[in-house]
Every structure is written in C-alpha cells, then in structure tokens.
C-alpha cells in the first residue's frame, strides 16, 4: 500500500491531542536528524540548532493542544521546517547577521508562530509567579497539566494517579485557592 504521509500526520496530531506529551516523544525522535541537517545550513552552532529544534517542538505541541492546528495542508516535516525557518532566521537577525532569506531553502516558507514571541510577565504576574513557586509540587503539576497542556480531567486523573475525576476537580480548585492565599500573604508583608 502506498504511504500517505499527510494521512499519517493527521493520525499523529490526533494521538498527541489524546496522549499529550508522551506522543510528542515519537515526533521528536522522528524528525531530529532531518531538522538538524536543515538547521545547520543557516550557519548557526550545533547547540543553537538543537535549541531551535526543541523550541519548534514546543510551538508545534502548543498549537496542537490549543486546537490551533487540527489539519495539516502539507507533510508534518514541511510544517516543522517552516516554523523552524522562522525561528532560525530570527536567531540570525538577533546576532546581527544579514541573511538573504530567499536563498536558504527557498521552497520552504518561514511561518510565524506565537511561541517565538517571548512571554514578558507584568509586575503583577511576576508577583504571582513568586507565589506559584511556593505552591506544592503536586499543585504546580496539576495546574500546569490543566491550563498549559490542556489535558482533559480524565487524563490528569490517570497521569497523576487520582482516584476519580471529581478529586481532580476539587484539588484543582483547592490549588487555585492556595495560590491566592499565598499571594495575599505576600502582599500583606
């Protein structure tokens, strides 16, 4: 039977949505070598290229989990290369290196991605961050799985070994309350 990479990628997206981070490992292994060979052409160091690859993986993962990426119009590899190209060109720009973008892999169009605009926390958010660091590890993990990874409650229950979904929901509310009370204490003193 003929291989259909786009159809396979489609299944992969679904798998990531359902399984989350563990399915990302498969993608990471699959495209690492190809991506690094691609990235080396931009004349960056090996560690910069590896860093870029990991950032591309995170950007891709976020897009899937946030529901921004539901169907691929090209192969997954082309998609990864195109967001990678955007990231690599940005890095070159940051190092003040002039690049004629059309000359490096002209067939791949650099695609912008939210992930590459770094999160600058406001003063208020920095205070919340300090409080967040003081939360117990379990709370931090649960809130991260819920709000960042956007795992369904059922998956959090399995991943964190809770007895049922209601416990997850109750713990989540308790964690948010703890965060608020730590914050209030910090603000008093």
């Amino acid at each position: 039977m003929e291989e259909n990479p786009i159809k396979d990628s489609q299944q992969l997206l679904e798998k990531i949505r359902v399984e989350g981070m563990s399915a990302l490992e498969e993608v990471y292994r699959e495209y690492k070598t190809d991506f690094l060979n691609f990235a080396f052409r931009f004349g960056l160091s090996e560690s910069d290229c590896l860093d870029a690859y990991q950032d591309v993986m995170i950007a891709f993962y976020e897009n899937v989990m946030e529901g921004k990426l539901t169907t691929l119009t090209s192969s997954l590899k082309t998609y990864l290369f195109s967001i990678g190209k955007y990231n690599l060109l940005n890095q070159l720009k940051a190092k003040n290196r002039i690049v004629k973008t059309e000359e490096i892999f002209p067939e791949i169009e650099a695609t912008e991605n939210d992930y590459f605009e770094s999160i600058e926390l406001s003063h208020r958010q920095q205070v919340i961050e300090t409080a967040f660091q003081q939360l117990g590890e379990q709370c931090r993990e649960l809130l991260t799985l819920f709000y960042y990874h956007r795992y369904p409650i059922k998956n959090i229950q399995v991943a964190m070994n809770y007895s049922n979904e209601n416990t997850v929901k109750a713990t989540k509310s308790r964690c948010m309350k703890s965060l608020k009370s730590i914050l209030e204490k910090t603000e008093i003193y």
Partner: protein
Amino acid sequence: MPLKDIDHQLIDKFLRGQLDAQEQELFDKKQSDVDFKEELTWRNNSLAVIKKNGRQDLKKKLQLLDKKIEEEKSASQPTPTKVLNINRGRWLTIAATLLILAGMFWWWNLQAPDSEDLFAQYFEPYPNVIAPIVKSDAPELTEVEKAFQTYEKGFYSQAIPLLKKLNTPEAKFYLGVAQLTQGENKDAINHLKFIATQSDNRFQHASQWYLAMAYFKNDQPDEANEMLKLIRQNPEHIFYKQAGELVE
C-alpha cells in the same frame, strides 16, 4: 454578586479555548459583572505564569529526552565484549609496546604541527547554502543552480569554471573554497581575501576562516595566525571556536 461554580467553569472553558457559541454569548454578557471581571483578570494573570512555567518544564523534559536519545545511540554502538585470555608474559609484551607507543606519541606531540597538517585537519568545504539540490520538475537548471549543485556534489574542478562565470560575491567565496580543494592556493587566497574585507557580505566570516586555511595550505603560517587572531577578536564570529583551537 459572589461567583457560582458555573462562573468558574465558564472562565476555565474560556482559558482553555473551549467555549461553544452559547457559552461565548453568556461569557460576553458576564463582562459587565464586576466580580466576574475581577476573577477573570486574576485567572488570566495566573494563566500567563502557568504557561511560562509549563514551557520551561517542557523544554527541560525535551532536553532530558535528547540526552536519553544520545545515550541510546552511544549504547547501541558495538562494544568489545570478548574477554581476552592472556598470560603474564604476553601482558609484559603488551605493556612494553604500549610504553613505546606512548613515548612515540609524546615525541610526536613535541613537534610543532606543520601548516599542511593543520589544513588537512581543519579544512572542510563550506556547505552549499545558495542553491541546494532539491527534487524539482523543472527540466533546466539555471546557471546558478548548475554551478552550486556541481559544487555540492563535490565536483570542485568542474564547479570552478561555472562559478567563475557567475561573477557574484557569493560565487567568488565558493570559488575560493573550490580552488582550495584543488590546490590552486594563490587564486583561492585572492578571491577569499576580497570577500574577507567586505563587512556587508554574509560570507565575510566564513571567508576569513577559509583564508586562514588557504594560508596554511600555502605554507604561510604567520599570515594564517594573523587571520585567526582577527577571528578571535569577535566572540560572535561563526568560526570563533574553531579559530580558538588553532590559534596557538
């Protein structure tokens, strides 16, 4: 009005991008409720913090995964498992041989490496970043593609006349590298020197490095070292690290 469970659920759904049309309408209406808005601001701020931390954690996980992959790779390399059964006399012979080898190695290292050796050790043709070989249905290659793809395939002597015809600064750089592979050192030096002084040329850094290589090849170690020192003055130089290994 204090918030109800349903309000909290609505905010969660909003933060996770899961509002349907009906819920979105309700959510929009709630914007006029001061308590609701206050709770939303607080949760939005928390979300930004959680997102930032989530990214950092995920990055760490990927770095660990990468380490694991590299370890698996090195573990799958064949390692000698056979235990050698050697008697004492043979051990002495082996020890003596190793001593002699170590002595030779030490003596060898005392000798200053000559220019040609350094060239052979460090020279590697620059990759073709101009017109990479891609699968294409286009029947005819352009002059640029022809020249650079011949270069990429490693047919340097054939690439030289094609690159000469192009007469662009990029082509001049690659021409220099190609000539270096063919031992046309003086011509290579002339071409690379030209690009090495052009600060607006994106191959300036690479040219400086290859110029150093060309000087080594042409047995001009003093000029080569000058060029390496120049590279070392700029920590952002793409050949900064390599130049550091060679600079003594």
